[in-house]
Structures are given as C-alpha cells and as structure tokens.
Amino acid sequence: MMKTNSYLLSILVDDEPGVLSRIAGLFSGRGFNIDSLSVASTAEPNVSRITMVTKCEPQIIEQIKKQLHKLINVITVNDLTDKKYVQRQLALIKVNAQPDKKAEILRIVDIFRCKIVDVGLAHYTIEVSGDMEKHRAIISLLKPMGIIEIASTGAIALARENGK
C-alpha cells in the first residue's frame, strides 16, 4: 500500500449548471476521493472557485489534476499543496455548557479567538474560523464537554502573493 497524502486544489471553473456534477462525477467514476469541497463565485463574472481537499497516492494526484483540466468547463487547476497559501474553514460547534463547564468553554473560546454566536440554558454555539489544524485542536478540547453537533464548511484557500 502506497502512502497517501492530502492535497489541496484550487480550481477555477465556468459558472455553469452541471459543472459541480461533472467534477463530482469524475471523482466517483474514477474512484478518487473528495475529503472536502467548497464552491462559490469569484470577482470575475461567470467564474467560480472550487477548493478541494483530496487524499490519494502521489502518482494519482497527477492523473486527478489532468483529468480535472480535461473537463471543458475547468479553466485552471492550481495545486496549492506545496506552495505557500492561506487556508481557512468555518465551523459552527454546538457544545454542552453545564454550569460547571461554562468558564472553561469560554476560556477555550478566548484562547482560540472564536465567537459565541448562540447561547442557551445548557449550550453554546461557537463559531470557529481557521485552518484545519485549529479545527482539530478545538474539537478535541471541546469533546469532553459533549459536542451536540457540528456544521463545517470545506477548506478555502488562496496562494500567498510571492508565495512561490
């Protein structure tokens, strides 16, 4: 078994119906995996950016990139994995907030520079923005309190200027 790596791809596509399904279909049809996916329009009209995290063996990523590029509606495929980039993802974490745990939760929220966006008698909903590392860290700290549910976006990323 070859070692699998995680790759971060930033893909510009024509903003047309069916584009996402072409990309998703390519992955499912060829047995590639999508770990996370995030799609939204860009400043340029009719162009959307798809940011995608995929785990695979090193030689497969080349095939994935070429296959993506072969799709008629895909304009560019930028592999950010080995470049300098800023990356964020957003999560909402609803956590049990028993009276004896509230202070600790607030301390964690403070340390991680998160926000409480909803408060109930026995829960907090916390907004977390950051890279995947930060998400993993805060989730592991909140787990003992009892996480009720999580909603998370996929990763988004942009290459840093002069980041070659």
């Binding site: 119906p17 069916g18 399904s21 279909g25 095939q63 590029h69 008629i72 895909v74």
Partner: protein
C-alpha cells in the same frame, strides 16, 4: 433572416460540411423532421433503432475523416444512444448527437418521454449541452462540432427542448469559437523531440507502437516514412490497424491479447518503444509490470491524461501525432544518421525468427470451414481494399489478424467499449460516406442479431453493405474463455437456436447466401460481393474454433497460449 430553431440546426449542420445524418423521429423532434423534409442538401438516413443511428454516424465519421451526426427524440430515443456514445467516447470518434427534449417549462417534471440525458451521458461524452435559449442555439452547435473534432476527438451531445426548436428568431452567424478553458496542445515540445531522435539513433531494438490516434490525426504517411527511414518495425493496437501498411515487411501485426507472437515478443525485448496515439489499454499491455521491461518508452499523445495513466513513460510528448512525427522526421533528416539500416539487421532477423517459429496459422480441413479461411479469402477477393467493419468477439479478432490493412480508415471496429451490434450500422455509415468503396461487415451469429434490424435501413436507403457471418452457433469468444478457464462449462453461450439468416435477409428484402463447405467459400464470397444491394453471407464454420495466440487476462504478453 428569421429562422426557427429547427432551421438553424439544419443550417449549422450543413455549415460543418456534413452531408448525411442518421436518425429516428419522435414527438420532441417532430419540428426538426418537418424542417428536414422542407430542405435540400442534407440527407437523412432513417435507421430502425437509435443505437444504429449512433454507430452509423461513428462509421461515417471514421470512413469520411469528419464528424458524424445522429438525431433522435427525447426519453427512450435518447437513452438508446448511450451505448453508441460510450463506444465513440472510448475510441475518440468525433460525433455530435442531437437529442430532443421536452419543452423547457416541463423539464424536471417527469414529463412524458423526459429523461435527463445530459446527466446520463456526462461521463461518456467529451462534453454535452442542454440548450436553454434559442439565441444560444447556433453558437452551441458550432461549439459542439468544434469540441467533437478538435484535440482528442470525441462525442458531444446537444439536448434540444421542443420549444427551442419551434421558436422563430433572427438568425445571426455565430462568431469564432474561443474557449478560455479548452486549448488543446497541438505543437509538441521540440526539446523532447530531439531526445527522441537521439534515442532512435542509439537504439538497437526499437519498435513503433501505433494506435488510433495516428489514424485520427491522419499521420499514417508520416508514421510510415519514419519507420522506413529509420528501419523500425511497427506494431499496432486494434484501433491502429491501417496506420501502417499491413503488407509491409516492417509490419509486425497487431499487439496484445490476440496479437501476433512476433509483435508481443518484440515489445517484450525492445530497448526503445515509440508509442504514438495509444492509451495502453489492458488488452494491449497484459500485466503492466512485465510490459516492455527493457524499453525506454516515448509516448506521443494529444491528451495529457493518456500519459502516465497505465504505464510509466520516460519521454512524454503532448501534441498532435502528425505534427510530432513530422518534426521527428525533419530532425532525423537534419542529423542524417548513417548506418541505421545495417544496425537493425540483427533485430529484424530476430523478429523474422519469431515469425517463422509462431506464425498466425490454421488448418483448413476438407469438410468444415475455418472462420479464418473465410477472412483470408475475403482479403484476396477484395484485394485488401475493402472497408471492413466488425462486430465484437472472435469475428473481430480474426478480422484483425487475417485481413491486412494497407490504408487508414479502412478498419472500423468498436475497440474500447467492445459493442456487439456495432458492425452492421457502422458499415451503413461507412458506405454512406464512401459509396464507391466495398464495405463488408465481418460478423458473428451472436453479434449480428444485436442490431439485425438495420438490414432494413440498408435495403431501404439502397446502401450496399455485404455481411459475412462467421456462424459457429456459439457466443464464440465467451465459449473460448469457458473452454480454457471454466472447465468447458458452456453456460448460456450455445446459440444453436438461431434464425435462418438467409431467409431473414430475404425477409428484409436483401439477398441471402449460405455456405457450408470449404470448397464453396470463394464462390459464395465472389457471388455475394458481386451481387448488387445488401447481401448476407452465412458461413457455417467450425463450432469450437478458438482465437490464437492468446494472452490470458492479466498475464505477460510474452507468455502466450499458442494453440
């Protein structure tokens, strides 16, 4: 000029230089058929099943070196095209398939004869469109043809809602196609090409491996010139047959599972492989770990995804085969290397030894016809000049082995997808494109029944195709595998309950001939080929004849079963 969507469609098809389309009407395309009846210059051939329309368009495209067009209705008409589209996608054949669709207002409502054909064909087309406004119709059609024929060609589907083709609009000539997201690389990298010429000079045991890409880019002349100037033997994939003259001494025969012994051994022992327009299908490579183990591999392909997909190559060249081969020839001429002819003598002698050790062979007995014998006689009688289409299975492999193609675009077969029922409609398409050519479908008794209804198309449209049925009353290729690998348990491959093909031909208004004895083969073939109109020749052949040599699936191509 005010035109309906239907009239715009016809105008745009004509503008692409297409003179014949294949189709089948229905509710969603009735307006297009009405417009077709009221125009001149675009011929429509009415098939008897939509699958036949796509295969016929495929045959037309390959014989005519142009784009094939099929037109069908929505729902079942559209789904019936899927096999043909998938086959053209595997073989990179330029097609534009127009499907009717329910009116835009009904899309998504599960209307009568509605199906999401754009969704269904997304993975088996090069690209596809649902046209949502009549203003975009002309441009979309132009773009569809452009995509079908440019770069690595392929099928493009255009879904046409009924209200779009009914709407009248002021026609505007669409502008030039320029897609920011699609720019195929035609011109190869010169540095890489220089490496190739160096390798050719150094190589002691070079082989050229030609595929369908050479035929698609019309690079046969260049390929032949390069092989001859550098004295390099040439093998081909099934799709590459005809890319290099089959009667040339440098020709090794087909490569792969049912390739010739000398072709497979040459690949197993070569030190340089120049692969042009191939994608290293598993039927060619066998066990990839043992494929060309000692070779430096050069791969020329217009599609970057074909490179490094199955096989690691040392010199990848992305570009058009014709442009790349031309440039390699040019560089070779500049360097003018001496002694290439002498240098290869040992290698060529070794290949001749392989050939004499294990030639393609069969023994024609006194009483039962061997299928190979029929093809050998067909080759002689047509002087190797016919366009041959095939079905899929043993008939296809024997055609590839025993009919030697000297020219490209003369062997038309469903290579990648392997569609039984391809040959007859493809023959109709090829004959429509090349009326002066003899077109013969080499069929099996199983395959021919998959699209037998197209006999009516051929008869009605006065398209003379000749059908040679190698009738062993088995699904022969599956039976062969059952014999070799499944203890002769012939599960569901016995086809003894077959129709009388002679009577069937006559029922369709074609001529039917039967041949049961070896000494009648030449006479029946000659009579069939000379008879005007569509002719079915039914040859009762050896029931359990197998295709050899053979590489068991997953085995190394140099370890072949010889008998």
């Amino acid at each position: 000029m005010k035109l309906t969507g239907a009239q715009i469609l016809i105008k745009m098809i004509k503008a692409e230089g297409v003179d014949t389309i294949f189709g089948y009407p229905g509710g969603a395309v009735i307006d297009i058929y009405d417009a077709l009846a009221k125009q001149e210059g675009l011929k429509h051939i009415l098939v008897r099943h939509e699958q036949g329309a796509v295969h016929a368009a495929d045959g037309y495209a390959r014989a005519n070196k142009s784009v094939g067009v099929a037109l069908v209705t929505s729902g079942p008409g559209a789904t019936n095209t899927v096999t043909g589209i998938a086959s053209a996608h595997c073989d990179s054949i330029p097609l534009v398939v127009f499907t009717g669709q329910v009116p835009t207002g009904l899309i998504g409502n599960d209307a009568f004869q509605e199906v999401d054909i754009v969704g269904i064909t997304r993975p088996c087309t090069k690209h596809n469109y649902l046209v949502k406004s009549v203003e975009k119709l002309a441009f979309t059609i132009k773009e569809a043809f452009y995509l079908a024929r440019s770069g690595r060609p392929g099928p493009v589907l255009v879904d046409l809602p009924k209200d779009i083709v009914q709407t009248v609009v002021e026609f505007e000539e669409p502008g030039e196609i320029s897609l920011k997201s699609y720019k195929p690389t035609y011109k190869p990298n010169k540095k890489q090409l220089n490496k190739v010429t160096d390798l050719i000079q150094k190589a002691e045991r070079p082989v050229i491996f030609a595929g369908g890409g050479v035929i698609l880019s019309q690079a046969s002349k260049e390929l032949t010139r390069l092989a001859k100037m550098a004295n390099i033997p040439v093998t081909g994939s099934l799709m590459g047959l005809g890319a290099f003259p089959g009667s040339d001494p440098l020709w090794l025969g087909m490569l792969g599972m049912h390739g010739t012994y000398r072709a497979n051994m040459s690949i197993g022992h070569c030190d340089l492989m120049i692969a042009a327009g191939v994608r290293f299908d598993d039927r060619v490579t066998g066990n990839i770990k043992k494929f060309a183990p000692g070779a430096t591999i050069v791969q020329i392909d217009i599609d970057p995804t074909s490179i490094h997909k199955n096989i690691e190559v040392q010199i990848p060249i992305v570009g058009d085969c014709k442009a790349a081969l031309k440039e390699i020839i040019h560089l070779m001429e500049e360097k003018n290397p001496a002694g290439l002819t002498e240098k290869r003598q040992e290698w060529l002698a070794r290949i001749r030894e392989w050939q004499s050790a294990v030639p393609l062979k069969f023994e024609q007995s006194y009483d039962v016809i061997k299928p190979q014998y029929v093809i050998e006689k067909l080759y002689e009688l047509t002087e190797g000049k016919a366009i041959i289409t095939t079905e899929v299975g043993q008939n296809q492999m024997w055609a590839a082995q025993y009919y030697h193609f000297d020219e490209p675009n003369h062997f038309i077969t469903s290579g990648g997808l392997g569609v039984m029922g391809f040959g007859l409609p493809a023959a109709i398409g090829a004959k429509a494109a090349c009326p002066d050519k003899m077109v013969v479908d080499i069929a099996g008794d199983g395959s021919i029944q998959m699209n037998i209804q197209e006999l009516m198309t051929a008869v009605e449209s006065k398209i003379d195709v000749k059908i040679v049925i190698l009738n062993n009353r088995y699904l022969g290729m599956v039976r062969q595998w059952q014999e070799l690998f499944y203890d002769k348990v012939y599960s569901s491959t016995n086809m003894e309950n077959a129709p009388d093909f002679v009577k069937l031909a006559e029922a369709y208004g074609a001529t039917g001939l039967r041949c049961t004895k070896p000494d009648q083969v030449s006479r029946v073939l000659a009579k069939g080929l000379d008879t005007k109109g569509t002719v079915v020749m039914d040859f009762t052949v050896e029931r359990e004849e197998s295709v050899y040599p053979m590489v068991p699936a997953g085995g190394s191509i140099t370890e072949m079963l010889l008998v």
